[in-house]
Every structure is written in structure tokens, then in C-alpha cells.
Symmetry: C2
Subunit: 536 residues, 2 copies
Amino acid sequence: MDRDQLHLGRTYARARSFFPDQTVHSVVDGEQQTLTYRDLFARVDRLAHALRELGVQPGDRVATLGWNHHRHLEVYLAATWTGAVLHTINVRITAAQVAAIASDARDVVIFYDEDVADLAIAAVQARTPAVVPLVCFGSAGTVPPDGQDVLDYEGLLASQSSDPYTYPELGESHPAATCYSSATTGTPKGVVYSHRSQVLHAAMLSHVDTWGLGRRDVVLPVVPMFHVNAWGLPFAAIAAGATLVLPGARPRPELLVDLVEAFAVTLVAAVPTVWSDVFDVVRRDPSVDVSSLRLAVCGGAPLSRALIDQADRLAVPLVHSYGMTEASPLVLVGERRAESNLSDDASTTRRLRQGRVVPGVEFRVVDDAGGDVPWDGASIGELWLRGPWIAEEYPGDARSASAFTADGWYLSGDVVTIDRDGLVQLVDRQADLIKSGGEWISSVDVENALMEHPRVRSAAVAGVPDERWQERPWAFVVVEDSFTTDDDLRRHLDSRLSKFWVPDRFVRVDEVPLTSVGKFDKRALRASAATLQAVE
Amino acid sequence: MDRDQLHLGRTYARARSFFPDQTVHSVVDGEQQTLTYRDLFARVDRLAHALRELGVQPGDRVATLGWNHHRHLEVYLAATWTGAVLHTINVRITAAQVAAIASDARDVVIFYDEDVADLAIAAVQARTPAVVPLVCFGSAGTVPPDGQDVLDYEGLLASQSSDPYTYPELGESHPAATCYSSATTGTPKGVVYSHRSQVLHAAMLSHVDTWGLGRRDVVLPVVPMFHVNAWGLPFAAIAAGATLVLPGARPRPELLVDLVEAFAVTLVAAVPTVWSDVFDVVRRDPSVDVSSLRLAVCGGAPLSRALIDQADRLAVPLVHSYGMTEASPLVLVGERRAESNLSDDASTTRRLRQGRVVPGVEFRVVDDAGGDVPWDGASIGELWLRGPWIAEEYPGDARSASAFTADGWYLSGDVVTIDRDGLVQLVDRQADLIKSGGEWISSVDVENALMEHPRVRSAAVAGVPDERWQERPWAFVVVEDSFTTDDDLRRHLDSRLSKFWVPDRFVRVDEVPLTSVGKFDKRALRASAATLQAVE
């Protein structure tokens, strides 16, 4: 029997009963709005009625192309609670990619923010027949794209009954959401999350040894709601009865700091570049008070020593976290500053590691021979994962065969070390490791070493084919002045890296190309290198 | 397919890998022993080999009659990990009750502490054929009871292979443990806990909004390991990688205070009478330092205002918790002192409530007509519970029909109110509520009011048949001097209770009779009242 206890609907019903006065603060069109949970769930009921009116059935995919705001949150809740499948689409990918994803997912309705209407049109046109309803989150002034009828979100809600909605009781394995992983290699791959997986992932985020998200927290997800469900924070915050602060479209760092101050935010989750920008704002204005922060989650890309030092100077409790679409996403949580009795420098070295595997997830670090590497902090292997919120397939996608084993392991493609305390450090993507003269070079380590140079703003390293050594590293660097020479950079690295790890070339760029989820686009770098090699 | 992710074995394997240097401190025969998790799990492997040698098969019941020490913990781990079913038997019940329980459970091996050997013999003799192996935790000097061969626990372990044991992979619904609920009415009733239920219960104990049990905690379960698995603490502590401090047989309050100081204990779980004794020790000796405590869990019986006041004066963070055998046990967690902006007195009133239903458990408060009572803090109803760690039956017991509904609700028999913030307060056991002149009287409320009298050490109240009023309350009081009169007590109550709640009689007793789990024995009180009525 498929049980129904681990169902997101149970967590929503509990939040609604216990925390009616709890609040969600949302920035929409530059203005702050505040809803209580009571208001929020009344609107979710109306949206559930609307979804039924639109013909959405359990199992149907409900797509969103939206920023972090309360309307997007309402779709999260209504779609999953009615048994539909929430399908958040990244608004930073191309219209062609959106079309491919919407077609693959067979979305039956699409909610979108006005500023990405072109993507919504692409999504609709990819569906056959193209009769998918479009609902614009913007409440007024929407221009119907390409002749298609567009529903107005607020108008849709207003036209519904205010009666409570009777939500279905569905099994734990019923799908709750689907996400397509970033297209760092090839076309996007979809994973499907069950209700069970998301309930357990949310509970894990409330474990005192991970993020400890509780009802006294004020949670600001800067990570977009179209990116692995904002790392699971909306589900976990509602389950815990926490306050949510949703910063709207493309939030500037000044706004984020304002929100932290205004709502005494305790938990922020963002990528390193956002933190760097936020720290700039805080440093510039000594009157800013961000002391309410108890946890500053930094994920999506490796932390740098410089960023930790900045955080420490500003007393911001920055903690490394690591995950991926296939893992809902949280897998590793790093150490906190005060956790060890080490010197600041040794402590920082530990905090640079991505962290320990969270409770509930099984893992292996597997070497080329298929064995487990020793916990010595040096031996490298691929991180394998298994557990209730780890995907077991890309449904209907032939690439499942190479990414998942028959007994449920997900082969992450991330190459890591693990030290004697169980702290895992990401060495590189398997595809980005550079093989030079039979030895491995971690592009990530070279990047981090480069970024410790005071004049280097950003640096990405990729392997470039080499006749003699098979591959050699090239660096693509953003340097803050025109006086820093290649020799300066080389001297800087000589004291930090093995000689053969030092890149053969330092290519100056205005910015490092990024993928749609903000990671260095190594494929683009390798293409640039090939072009450079060809013209020389 | 029955999944295997939510299996206690996974939590043990994780603890063994991640926290080999973590420690378990144990008091055995008056001496402290310290084991690392590394040592502990090596011994668990040996015990697993021994269980196989003894012929224990998956699903077989492994009984214990033991106090809180590392050997008992090893049986917890080895029995559940090998797929056997841990069956802890209360050492405070009669030999006849033990025999009935062991017979019902069909225990195949019995581990026991020497000082309760008579109970172990009773358990063996109840089994047919009586060939159940007995293993004495005491390492030497055991007298074979009644001609039966007795194995020596340490000898048994020493004779086993030191090879790692290969634990089976079993489904989540495989039984992990069985407990018999206290016999407050009728004979004990057994419930069975699945691996899934115990993994989820343990994870819930680590939720930051319940007890937040984490790897930095030092956990001292005073609640016996034969009482609902020490409220789930051994499973949760191992899953979290916490330090455990096990205080041995019949710990004196002085020892408990010593252990808190010696190991900087952060979390203690005990019943109110133990806390009262501990506070006496701390108050008498100003040099005692218990400031390491971050959570002083008080459960098993209602808290009194006097106990909260004592805790506050000593800065001990006492928190009410409530549960029952049928719920693994944790269901309600009370408020902490600093949680509200109320005056100390209003805050204490809130902290006297048993608390909020923990995440993961569904509940109803059901009135006589089968409807839900309003959240007004006054209307009374029976607490119904449903969820992953709530029992759904007493297997093979006809009493299941009246305690469980077909759709999975457990009817707790506890009558409660719930206030607008969702705080539940126990009013009484349904069977102990007193019906006087068509109105309800809570025996618990009258007891609490009596115990606020400075000279009343203990007080229990029961309903006694009355021709005119149907029932009337009688109080059985332990008074500290001989000068306090019935009129004194009556005057004390007049200012605190409705007039018709004041007991008709105040019977002086030397001590209030308790059940095997330390609750007031209301059946014995009603019998005493009947005797008194008969002789008058």
C-alpha cells in the first residue's frame, strides 16, 4: 500500500491550523506586500478552484516562469496540494530551451511574469495542440502575446469561489514537482520529485545539524524559485511555520540588505556572487545592521577564502552548502565558524569544504576501480548518492543509464575528496577535471588560487587539448587593472600550486561566461580556446 | 514495493562512519565506563554474531529486562539492525505481568540485569517450550535461576568473531521494536513499531522546534530504556551522532547531578518527581553547576507551577513534553520560558500546557458528538492522533476495535483543551474525569491546585460514586505536617476552583499509590474509597 502520511498537503494543513498569523512578505513590482498564512491559504484555495476550472487533473504539469514572490508561492502550494505537478522553468535560459522543456514536460498551464512573456509564448507554442492557458502574474496591462488569450492572475483568483477547497488524499509516491537540471552538458534533463521526497527533504532542512529551519526563522530565499525550488526553502518554511521574505524580480543587493534589516531576517540563501555584492553594500554603509542573520547559506558554487574572510569581518555566519537538482537539492552542509577549536586559518580551510552529507542520504566516494576511497582528504573519487530525496532516473531519458545504477545510486559526476571527519570537498566536475601528463588537475582549485590574488575579480579555468600533455589548463581572468601581468599571476600561483597546475595561458576577459544557473560555462571557454588556437 | 530507505540500520551505519570518536558513557555496577562509537559498534557486531548463533531470525522478539547502560544500548542496536524485534519489558511490573507479556510476545531470548533475575525467570517459564536462552548483563557471579542455563553477556561477546557483521537489507515496514503500554486499565497492550516509524520519530526529535537533538548534544536519558524506548532517545541520539550518558540502575538524584556536571550534559529527560529530587540536590549545594543544560525535558506526568518556579529559580530550562506508548512516544512539546513576551506568571500558565503537536503528526480534539472542539482553551474533547509513528492497532488484541478507527486514527483516551495558539492541555484521562451533577471535574486540575499548597507534598484525586451527584471528588493527600486541617485545604482551594470542584473528603496518606510507570494509580484510590465508604 502506498501510504499518504508523507504528503506535502499534510504540512500545509498543519501550517494553516497552527500559524494563521505567520507572515509572507513579498516584493511585487517594486512594492512590498504582506500576507498572513490565513490570507495566503485563502488565496491558495481560490487558486485550487481555478486550476480545477482550467481542467488541471492530478498528475498534470503546472508550469511557472516566475521570480520569487507570493503569487509564485501560491502556485507552489495549490499545484502540489491538488495533486498536480509543479514545474518551475528557469527564466534565464533561451526560448528554444524553454520550448524543449515545456514540450517534454507536457505542461497544461503556464504561469509567468510579464518580463519573461517571450519565454511563456515559446513554451505555449511548443505544446501540441497549442491551447495551453497562459496566466500572467502581473495584475494589469498584459499584452496578449501573439494573439493568445492571457488570463490575469488576480482576476482569475477574484472570479473563484471563496469556499474552502477539498484537497484529494494522494499517495506518498504521487509526483509533487519536476525540475530540469541545468544544461551544462547537452539538453536539460528532467527529474520528478514525489511528495514523500519533498516532505522528508523539508524535515531534513529543519534538522538542528543542517540549516535548523524553524518557526522562529525569517527566511529570505535569494536563490530563485525557478532553481531547484529555491533549494526547497518554500516547502520547508511553510512546513516549519516560518516567516518568508520573497524579494521579487532581479533583486539588487541594496534591496536584499534593506529586507534583512526591515524584517530581521535570520536565514538567507544565495550564491557566492550575491553574497559578495551584499558584503560590498554592508561594508560601504556602517549604519547597516544585519546582526539578525543566524545562517547565511552559500551554495551553487564553491566558496572562496576571500569571501569567508569578508563574512567573518562583517560577522555574517556564512555556511557552505552543496546540492544539485537530482538531490532536491541539499546534500552537504559545511562547518560553521565556531565549530572547531582551530585557528582562524585552519578553521577557514575546513569551512571551504562543502561539508558533511546530511542525515538521511547514503553516499559513496568511488574511485576509478569502483572501490571506496579512503577518508584522507586527498584521494579523489566520484560522489555517489542514494536516499529518499535523491532521484533514481530521468524519466523517459536514455541518459538515465549512465547516471543511475539499478540499486538506486545516483552518480553525481562531481569529483570529491573526503577527510577523516567526513567533510567532503568538491574537486571538480568529472567533465572539467584536466588530465595533464597522466595527472589530474582540479580546475576549481586553480580558480580559487587565482581568485585569492587581490587584483583578480573572477577566474575560470578549463582544459585545452595539448599534443604533448593531452590537456593543459588555460585561465580566463577578469583583472581589475591593466597593470597586472601574466608573470604576476604566475608568481602568485607558484607559491600555491604544483608547478604543472599553473595554467599555460591567462586570457583576459571582461567577464567569465556563465550558464543559466550562474556557473562558469566551461563549454564556452573551451570553444573560445579552440578559436584562439585556430587563429594562431 | 516496500522501500528500505527509512531503516534504522542506515542511521547506525551513518553514525559509525561519521562519528567514530563520539562517546557513550555508562554507569554499570556503580562504575563509569566510556566507549567510543567505534568500540560500541564493534561490540554490536559481536552481539549480532551472537544473536545468529542463538538462532534469532528476522522478526523474532529479543526481550530485555534492563536499566540504562551501554549493554542494553547494544541490544537495542544489534536486535534492530539484524532484523529482530527489540522488546523492552518494564522491570517495575509484577512477575505475573512479565510472564503474560513474554508469552504474548513470544520472546526468543531474554537479556536481563541481575537484580531483576526473578522477572527473567518468570518470563522464561511463561514460554512454551521453556527453552529460551537467558543472557545476564552482569558479567560475573550470576546464579543460574531455577536450574536454567544462563549465558554471561561479556562472555558471549568475547566468544564471537570480531569480523564485521553483514546486516540484512529489510523493508521500511519491517518491525523494529515492540512495547507493551502500561496497565492503567486491564492487562498490558502491545504495540509494534516499524523501522520507518522509528527513523521518522528520531528525525522529528532533531527538528529544531521539538527537542532539536543534534550531534553537539550530550544526552542523559533518566527515563528508563524499558519505558517506550527511553522516549526514543537512544535511537535519536545515535542517528544524530550525539554523546550519550546512561546512568545505570536506579540512579540517585546526586548521581544525576554529578553526571550532568562531569559530562556537561545538555539534554536530560525525566519525569516530574525526578526533577523535583534533582532540584533539591542543586538547591542544597550552591557549588553545583548545571548550566550546561539547554533542555530539561519533563514528561510522563503533568508539570506543576511549583516545579516550573523551582526550575526558573535554578535557571534550568524545563520544557513540558507529552506522549504515550502508542505514539513512540512524542506528541506534544511545550513552550520554553523565553518564547513569549508575557509576564512570568502568564508565561508559566502557557508552559503548564503540554504543548503543540509535533511536526508530522495529525490530530483532532473530538467532542462527544464527534465534532472538532473550538480552539478556545476551554472546550474539552478527546485527543485523536494519526501519523507515521502513531500505532494503528494492538496486534491480535480485541481492544484495538475501541482504540483505533479504520482510517488510522488512534483515540488516545486523554481529554484535552486546545487554545488559540494550538497549545494543548491535558485535562484528564477520559476514565478519570469526574462527572458531578452533570458537570465535568478534572481530577488533574484539582490535584495541581492542591499541590500548590505549601504543605502538600503530593495529592491525587479520584471520583467516588455518590447517590445525589453521581460522582464526587475525593482527595488523597500527603501533607508535610500534622497541623494542616481539612479546612485549611478547603480554604486554599476555594480561591482557586469552582465551589463544586472542591473535594468532599481529604484522606491523609503516607504516599500516593503509583502505577508501574509512576502515574497515580486511580484504580487503587477508588478501591480505597470504596473500602472507606463500606466501613462507615
